[in-house]
């Protein structure tokens, strides 16, 4: 029975050779930023520890996280990780369907009570009793709460589960909320991005499965190893930023020379993600490398933070949208004009007063 099976056994059953397994262990150690000696630790853990089951639920989402995940740079990694988790429950990847699938879900919940990891892609909408997302005939929010009740920890895949993303963007008609608004009594690991980078996803899940603990998280619940720095901190165009060399127009000389995209609204300076180091699609490129600014897809509420193409973005409070520089320049101009007018009025008044004072003084003598 699966209870006693180790990760290693599962992999071997999936046709992965010992050699590939060891390669995988060293790759993982590297991906996680660990010393090479950790490859042995990982291998040993996987050979001896019983496999941790993973349940992967899908709420309101576009499946871009799954799409990203199965394109993990090293096919070996995705094969291995997939073989570890697809056995259990994942609407998109599992073989079974319908009642059979739902039965598996119940079975895992009972058998591995308190031991399994719940990975959530997408989020629950709460309006109309959750009717905007129905899974197996019931609102997703119910399924989420049930499955979360017995899990060990939750992984919030992508910006949807972590922050809300596009379905929670203004005006959020379905009242979609991130997972942590609904599940409050379990540790939650946020892996934001739209989608998150495949290597980041496999890295996080492998870390949790092999070391049997949560990766170190930052204040907002994101793994520090991947979300500890901004895109801007590791961007290869940073020297142009520091020098003051910017793309000023999409088709100018600076664009051809690969200058910094700050003036085109690049959100690298405000975005925490691993794109500028890990990159995408086997490390081929990432948005900035292909000449477009970062849009801040892994940040909270990035859809509602003004234009992707402005650095000084519009601020939206109490239903009023305003741009700091436009309002500021207008205010400074108005106040400047008012000061000039007031100064003129003051001068006139003073002349009048002076005239009066002189009369008084003359009268006194």
């Amino acid at each position: 029975m699966a209870t006693t099976e180790t990760f290693y056994e599962v992999m071997r059953r999936q046709g992965i050779s010992r050699r590939s397994f060891l390669k995988y262990c060293s790759l993982t150690a590297t991906a996680l930023g660990l010393a090479p000696s950790f490859a042995g630790t990982i291998a040993q853990a996987m050979e001896t520890k019983p496999r941790t089951p993973v349940i992967w639920l899908h709420g309101l989402e576009c499946t871009c996280c799954s799409e990203s995940f199965i394109r993990s740079a090293h096919p070996l990694v995705s094969d291995v990780v997939l073989s570890m988790i697809s056995l259990d429950y994942d609407d998109v990847l599992m073989a079974s369907a319908g009642h059979q699938a739902e039965a598996i879900l119940d079975e895992i919940r009972l058998k591995y009570k308190g031991q399994y990891i719940l990975a959530v892609e997408g989020n629950p909408p709460l309006n109309q009793d959750g009717m905007s997302c129905i899974i197996g005939g019931r609102p997703f929010v119910e399924q989420l709460k049930e499955v979360a009740a017995d899990c060990k920890a939750v992984i919030s895949w992508g910006s949807c589960a972590s922050w809300g993303c596009v379905q929670a963007a203004h005006p959020n008609p379905t009242q979609a909320v991130p997972v942590h608004k609904v599940i409050t009594d379990k540790p939650i690991i946020k892996v934001p991005g739209c989608p998150p980078i495949a290597e980041v996803m496999t890295g996080v899940i492998t870390y949790m499965l092999t070391f049997d603990r949560l990766p170190e998280l930052d204040r907002q619940g994101r793994p520090k190893m991947f979300y500890g720095q901004r895109i801007h901190d590791k961007c290869y165009r940073r020297p142009h930023f520091d020098a003051g060399q910017f793309v000023e127009d999409w088709d100018d000389e600076g664009a051809r020379k690969g200058y910094c995209l700050y003036k085109m609204g690049c959100k690298g300076p405000t975005t925490y993600n691993a794109c500028s180091t890990t990159r995408w699609n086997n490390g081929v490129s990432f948005p900035i490398q292909s000449g477009h600014g970062c849009i801040g897809c892994s940040e909270d509420g990035f859809w509602d933070k003004g234009s992707f193409y402005d650095h000084v973005t519009n601020t939206n409070v109490f239903g009023i949208e305003a741009n700091a520089d436009k309002v500021g320049i207008a205010a400074a101009g108005t106040v400047g004009a008012a000061i000039a007018a007031h100064a003129a009025a003051s001068a006139i008044q003073r002349i009048k007063q002076r005239a009066g004072e002189h009369h008084e003084e003359n009268d006194q003598t």
Partner: protein, 230 residues
Amino acid sequence: MYTGVPTVKRTAVYVYQTPVRIWHWVNALSITVLAVTGYLIGSPLPTLPGEASDHYLMGYIRFFHFAAAYVFLVGFLFRIYWAFVGNSYSHQLFTLPFWRRRFWSELLHEVRWYAFQEPEPRKYVGHNPLAHLFMVVIITVGGLVMIVTGLALYSEQTGLGSWPDALFGWVIPFVGQSQDVRMWHHWGMWVIVVFVMLHVYTAIREDIMSRQSLISTMVSGWRMFKDDRP
């Protein structure tokens, strides 16, 4: 006898102690540098030609912003300290007697004076109530907001675990996300710019129009009254 020389008696009170005056001018300079460099961080200068290694323009602008920010920060902390050890006028910047009816009636009088509705202003040894209100709201509260949001942004480059992160990193999720913090910091600049415009104008105007000295007070510390009436 009319001699042509004004015969009004002038009284003087020592109001702004030397450290407060030095602080005022250092603070004024640092805020000016912060506003100019801050604006240039938000809207950088036109692109420079040549190799990236030929220049470090943005780097210098940011460096001056952070250097001025440290001056502003240390000055602010010093000014709080001085409110405890300095003379009674030194607390004004951090206290607003809003519970006193007199404060409000004098405030109204001062507003009416600016609106040309009063023939002459009252005399104040410390700040006039209108100036007082603006000082507290813009410099004390506003300055604090700039320091907190500024250090939160600074923590992003000093990194996780650094002291700005330990002390102010919480601000970013509290406000929303990094871009929100940047924009509030940016709005703050405009609020301060408008204040400085009004402050400098009123300082000059009142120096001429009111019954007391202002600019020389911030230079020498002595408040001179131009007449003897109450």
